[in-house]
Amino acid sequence: MIGWANTIIQGVLLGGLYALFAMGLSLAFGVMRLVNIAHGDLIVLAAFLALLVTQIIGMSPLLALVICVPLMFALGYALQRGLLNFTLGTDILPPLLVTFGLSIIIQNGLLLSFSADPRALRLGGFETDSFHVGGGIAVGYFPLLVLAVAIVLTCALELLFSRTPLGRAFRATSDDPEAAQLMGVNNRHVYALAMGVALAIVAVAAVFYGIRTTFAPTDGPDRLLFAFEAVIIGGLGSFWGTLAGGITLGVAQAIGFRLDPGWGVLAGHLTFLAVLLLRPQGFFPRTR
């Protein structure tokens, strides 16, 4: 019984990381209906960027966020403005193919520059410290921090969308790009800002991911699938839904892993397919 409670708790904590993976994807879905297949590879790219920063400047990975977040924001803005904006339209094929191409380019570029060896970001002990909550269950400080960051970022995104002029522009272009343009919104700029914010969140997710586990150039596709499943399970258009989806996925994987170490990821995928069959709109859908 205690064992299962522990499994669930660890699953929830893991889900915090998956929610972080998923938020940027959810944002791009929500604002420009862009299904970004390179999302997972961008997470891995950001993790390698953080690795470079920590190695060159010798700073702690958490401090490296100060450099990585603005860099990834800039990359996101440039990527959307310089390439992805040209793929948006009624045809679904161009954005899919272009981001798929980017995914392959990033993966193989990382392989050539960093080799296939798994890497990790180190915090000097904090990442493995834990405290006891009674009943023999130990909770790691670091996974708890990740979950807390995921919750804070979810709040921040919801506030950004509901309370700020930028959020209003995001919602307006999402609802009706032409009408938004007539009201003086520059859609191309708004989309680029949205991708900038999405990749800024990717940078945060990447640093926590790199501290929590090792990462290698070919790990991107799995990150994409986890992020995608979290978004769909949670329901499109709601960041709280995405958080709930991430946690659901984390718990499902933890339970699967406890039953058989080979079943962890599989249990997550099967949970996603079950949600698709039973509740295709996800837990908390909201059309934005």
């Binding site: 094929l93 193919l97 191409g101 193989n108 570029g109 769909i232 080979g262 079943w263 698709l276």
Partner: protein, 334 residues
Amino acid sequence: MNATVERSTRASSNGAIVAGVGLLVLVSLPAWGESSWMRTLVEFACLLTLAQMWNLLAGYGGVVSIGQQAYLGLGAYSLFVLADDAGINPFLCVPLAGLVAAVIALPTAKVVFRLSGGYFAIGTWVVAEVYRLLIANSSYLGGGSGKSLTAVREFSRGARESITYWIGLTVAVGAVAFVYLLLRSRHGIALTSIRDSERASESQGIDVEGTKLWVYIASAAGCGIAGALYYLNIVRISPDSAFNVGWTAYIIFIVVIGGIGTIEGPILGTLIFFLLRWALADYGSTYLIVLGAIAVVVMVKFPRGLWGYVQERYDLRFFPVQRRLRATGGGAQD
């Protein structure tokens, strides 16, 4: 006014003659060629078949899947089970593998078709991962390290290579012919109209959902056959190679660069893929970066691909699937 409907072009008539001669040369290859050529040509046949199937699905059906490796892997694994465990002739297992893939595609479609557009694309990828993980967790199927095909050992090496090669040739020609004849039939008109506008097709009485479903299943069967053929050629399989999303990356790049929505495009694209891989053979995975970059540029700047450009510029069509009305004179013009 008198008019006739033209369904062939000069290029298609002349092309058919050239293709016939070329095919005769290819059929006789085992008598004079080297076995490494045959192996490469079988691989060529597999990629061409996969590309035609994906083009049928995405270029004509408007269904964009990035999970076709699911059916490639399932077809390949059914070859190993049917030939090694059930004792069926391994060469006969190639068409059977297509059947297995089609049978599995039916319930799979019920799940993934709940998603649409880009979401559907990633959903198909998740499904492919599910099949990969199920097989990697099955010790009966060799788990993560895979299996070797033992059933082919009773054939001499020469016989095995020649038969595999002829099957490859049949499969590739069959795939092109299947797509061509399908598109010339009334189903072809339904397919292209769905690609252009689902809503308009629906209002014209086309069963959009049904058409998409059977195209998905037909494409799965083709991928299953190609998968079985590929692993019959190399006689060794592992879940990570058979269910690798890299397959779909190759296929998509081939179709996009060659020209999506044309039959000539995937053929041209496969040629370019092999040439590029050969030219960059000494630089590891660089050819993938180059291929990916070319595909991105083509998609943004020349969305109809190389053959689309040729077709527009020179009106050259080796596989005419359209109907052209040509006036034969005699009537009043208005």
